[in-house]
């Protein structure tokens, strides 16, 4: 009985808050707008708190790996060390201090850019092996489309763009703006319908992501 009452309270809270935030889109009453603003501020605070909780959890997981010397514990140790140094520097000297910016420009930015470069190489390796590993029409179609888009996107060797290059660019634009855009609109419609259905289910307490 108590569980039933608690779940009913949570559902009523979620329903009320959701309705007020939703009404704020359509009704310009000051009361509703102010209440919506309060709810949104609470949500932002909760999101920030969730970020901190996530950081603590991340630290705890890697600290356990180091403590138990599990496989790859050395990487966990590096993570804990870098996290601690960055966190302390940003906390003591502020995130816009020269020390924090030095860490960002010297370590974080090159590392992440290098990972993107490695991703490009990995995609090329997969593309090279694709036809050899899976010889069917779809694989050939996939590789051919990628090749056409690259040819239509990249610059043309030589000094002048000839008619072939222009034809390739038009073909690439046709692929991008007809096929890809059509598929993208379908995806967006699906996302919108899914988001609407999910929102309604939460508003009607059919789904309770906050717990039953």
């Amino acid at each position: 009985m108590r569980v039933l009452r608690l779940s009913a309270i949570w559902a009523a809270l979620a329903l009320g808050v959701g309705l007020f935030v939703l009404l704020g889109y359509f009704v310009e009453l000051g009361f509703i707008q102010n209440l919506r603003l309060i709810f949104l501020r609470w949500a932002v605070l909760l999101a920030a708190a969730a970020l901190i909780v996530g950081l603590v959890n991340l630290l705890a997981v890697h600290w356990r790996k180091v403590s138990l010397t599990e496989q790859g514990w050395i990487y966990s140790g590096v993570l804990i060390l870098s996290f601690t140094v960055t966190f302390v520097l940003a906390l003591v000297f502020r995130p816009d201090s020269p020390a924090a910016l030095f860490i960002f420009n010297t370590f974080q930015l090159p590392l992440e850019a290098s990972l993107m470069a490695v991703l490009a190489v990995s995609l090329l390796v997969a593309g090279f092996r694709m036809v050899n590993r899976r010889r069917d029409l779809l694989s050939l179609l996939f590789v051919g489309t990628a090749l056409m888009v690259l040819l239509g996107t990249g610059p043309t060797p030589g000094g002048v763009e000839g008619p072939v290059v222009i034809a390739l660019r038009d073909f690439r634009a046709w692929l991008s703006q007809v096929w890809a855009a059509g598929g993208a609109r379908g995806i967006l419609l699906g996302v919108a319908l899914g988001a609407t259905a999910t929102g309604l289910r939460v508003l009607l307490a059919a789904d309770r992501p906050y717990g039953a």
Binding site: Q33, R36, L37, L40, R41, A43, V44, A47, A48, L51, P95, D96, A100, L101, F104, N105, Q108, L109, E112, A113, L115, M116, A120, V121, S122, L124, V125, G127, F128, R129, M130, V131, N132, R133, R135, V143, L147, L150, L151, T153, G154, P155, T156, P157, G158, G159, V160, E161, V165, I166, R169, Q177, A180, A181, G183, A184, R185, I187, L188, V191
Partner: protein, 612 residues
């Protein structure tokens, strides 16, 4: 016939059965007034029953046990005192009460006869005992040793006929008082009044049947042909089913004052009612559910198969020879080709790629839009990308920044990524110095907006309530960043001259287009995108062409080729044009690698097909 009722299942069993024939529970006789175990180990073997059997044999044979006949083996020690013990200890109370009642009646009769006749009064004690024995017949245990009668053993007419017979028998032969065989504890060496078998009561005749039944059970399984079980040996399955620990086949009788009074049911108010709990409620092995498994050969084979499968699962597979992991030369080769394509134009200046001559249609829309932006209101630049995408987006957004800053539009930056503020500072500081922007006056970093999509929605409603602290603010800035001269006129998002979102992900771009686009009023929303995010955002841009009143995104700039065209149109060469040749060379390398891979795959397939 004596039978034993099993307290477990309630079925009747032969008297000598050690275990119930249905449920296998141990059977022990229940003796009123005490436990059967208290009788000692001798009674467990049914000594009393053996004595009763011997007496029945005597009765059926019609002979009288001799006075000097030795007692059976095993009873010789107990025989002399056996009757005394039975008389004193084993005769139950109810039997005593019956005896007293009968004694009283007989005394009254004797007194009446003494008054009517001149016969001498008999010894009362002997009369009591013999009369009771005569009345109860052989079922009455011998209470005490026989005593010599002190009265003439004449038949009394008032006595029942069977009692007269009892009295006449001994008189005719030995003139001794009648001795009746006792059911339990009768000493065989004591003289008894033997009655012919045909004169015995009907129930006593059943002793023969009982005897045969008992003897048959005593022989039991051992006498069965082909059986190898010992008489007292239970089969293992029956032994396993026997509820040894949980079931008590003996009911303990408590003292009367300790017995509880029944409170419910038809026996309410009675004391000492036998409890039904030992039968119906005490934990024991279920007799209903016990059944024999009908295991066929097929079942057995299937069980063996499952057993083997489980064993194979548990068996540790021996590790095979470890495959030598060589260096990934193939991947290194492809990486080297791409790296060569990027580095060659930088260091050698070749190859040279043609600059884009035709600009995308949306490029002119964006260019004209920026040209129309007012310079008295700041533009909000949102840096929503990760540092890994800075290689592309720094070059793409640089063309846009150059045009905006070339017009002298004040700038405010914002980010929803933790590293976005550092990216904004890195992208704008050098240009700020080049275009004469003064930090804090014409360029302000608002910093990190935490909270994701909710924070963006809150920013669209009330920016001043969302941003409370800036990033890398110069000295002399007011406590509240919104009081800075640059931001004093900003109350809502449409108060900015434009909002430009620089992002590499379609999710982030959709978030801004959906949450902010509808609240921008006449203020344009511009998207500066990575080439990969363009297809999902272009529908928002195309919406304004189909429905001008329902616009979401007013300008879009994506990819390095568009940025190069933008710089060419803006007349300010920047990173896009500087990276044009390396970009073209690496793209060419990628195209060649894909082409080579496709050709290799097709050739391999062709050769394999040709080889059969």
């Amino acid at each position: 016939m004596i039978v034993l009722r099993c307290l477990n299942c309630g079925i009747l069993n032969p008297g000598l059965a050690a275990a119930c024939r249905r449920c296998g529970a141990q059977l022990e006789p229940i003796l009123m007034g005490g436990l059967a175990d208290e009788e000692g180990e001798a009674d467990e073997n049914g000594d009393w029953l053996e004595r009763m059997r011997q007496e029945a044999q005597h009765l059926s044979a019609g002979d009288e046990p001799a006075e000097d006949q030795p007692p059976p083996e095993g009873e010789a020690a107990a025989a002399p005192s056996g009757s005394d013990k039975l008389a004193e200890a084993e005769i139950p109370d109810w039997l005593d009460r019956i005896r007293e009642t009968q004694t009283g009646e007989l005394r009254a009769k004797a007194a009446a006869e003494a008054a009517g006749t001149a016969s001498p009064p008999p010894d009362q004690s002997s009369l009591d005992d013999s009369a009771i024995r005569a009345r109860l017949g052989p079922a009455l245990p011998t209470g005490e040793p026989a005593r010599e009668p002190k009265w003439p053993a004449e038949p009394v007419e008032e006595l029942p006929s069977w009692l007269q017979d009892v009295g006449a028998g001994p008189k005719a032969e030995t003139e001794a008082p009648p001795r009746v065989p006792a059911l339990i504890g009768q000493a065989p060496d004591q003289p008894e009044a033997i009655r012919p078998a045909e004169d015995l009561p009907e129930w006593l005749g059943e002793i023969d049947t009982l005897k045969e039944s008992l003897e048959e059970q005593m022989r039991g399984p051992s006498a069965a042909p082909g059986s190898d079980l010992a008489p007292a040996t239970l089969p293992s399955w029956l032994e396993a089913m026997r509820p040894v620990e949980t079931f008590r086949s003996v009911v303990q009788m408590e003292a009367e004052e300790d017995q509880s009074i029944e409170s419910v049911g038809p026996l309410a108010g009675l004391r000492g009612v036998l409890l039904a709990e030992p039968v119906v409620a005490m934990p024991r092995t279920s007799t209903v559910g016990s059944m024999q498994l009908d295991v066929t050969e097929r079942h057995y084979a299937q069980a063996e198969l499952i057993h083997k499968m489980v064993e194979e699962e548990q068996r540790e597979v021996a590790a095979g020879p470890r495959k030598a992991t060589g260096l990934p030369f193939f991947r290194w080769g492809i990486a080297a080709l791409v790296l060569l394509g990027v580095a060659l134009p930088i260091f050698s200046g070749a190859p040279v790629f043609a600059l884009p001559r035709l600009a995308p249609q949306e490029l002119s829309v964006l260019f004209d839009l920026v040209e129309r932006l007012p310079v008295d209101r700041p533009a909000l630049l949102v840096f929503d990308y990760e540092p890994g995408n800075s290689g592309e987006l720094d070059a793409v957004a640089g063309a846009f920044f150059d045009q905006v800053m070339g017009r002298g539009i004040p700038l405010a930056t914002l980010t929803t990524r933790p590293a976005g503020s550092a990216l904004a500072k890195r992208a704008l500081d050098e240009r700020a110095a080049r275009f004469g922007y003064v930090p804090g006056q014409s360029l302000v970093h608002l910093g990190y907006l935490s909270g994701g999509s909710t924070a963006v929605q809150l920013l669209a409603i009330n920016p001043r309530a969302t941003i409370l602290e800036g990033f890398d603010l110069p000295e002399g800035m007011p406590e509240d960043i919104w009081n800075a001269p640059l931001l004093q006129g900003i109350q809502t998002l449409p108060d900015f001259s434009t909002v430009a979102v620089i992002t590499s992900g379609s999710e982030s771009a959709r978030l801004w287009a959906e949450q902010v686009g509808s609240r921008m009023g006449d203020t344009p929303l511009v998207m500066v995108l990575s080439a990969g995010a363009e297809p999902l955002i272009r529908p928002y841009f195309d919406l304004q062409e189909a429905q001008p009143g329902e616009r979401r995104v007013d300008g879009i700039l994506s990819g390095l080729p568009a940025a190069a065209s933008y710089e060419l149109r803006n007349g300010r060469p920047g990173l896009a044009l500087a990276r044009w040749n390396p970009f073209g060379s690496s793209m060419l390398a990628a195209e060649l690698i894909l082409l080579a891979g496709a050709g290799y795959g097709i050739a391999n397939w062709w050769l394999g097909r040709k080889a059969g």
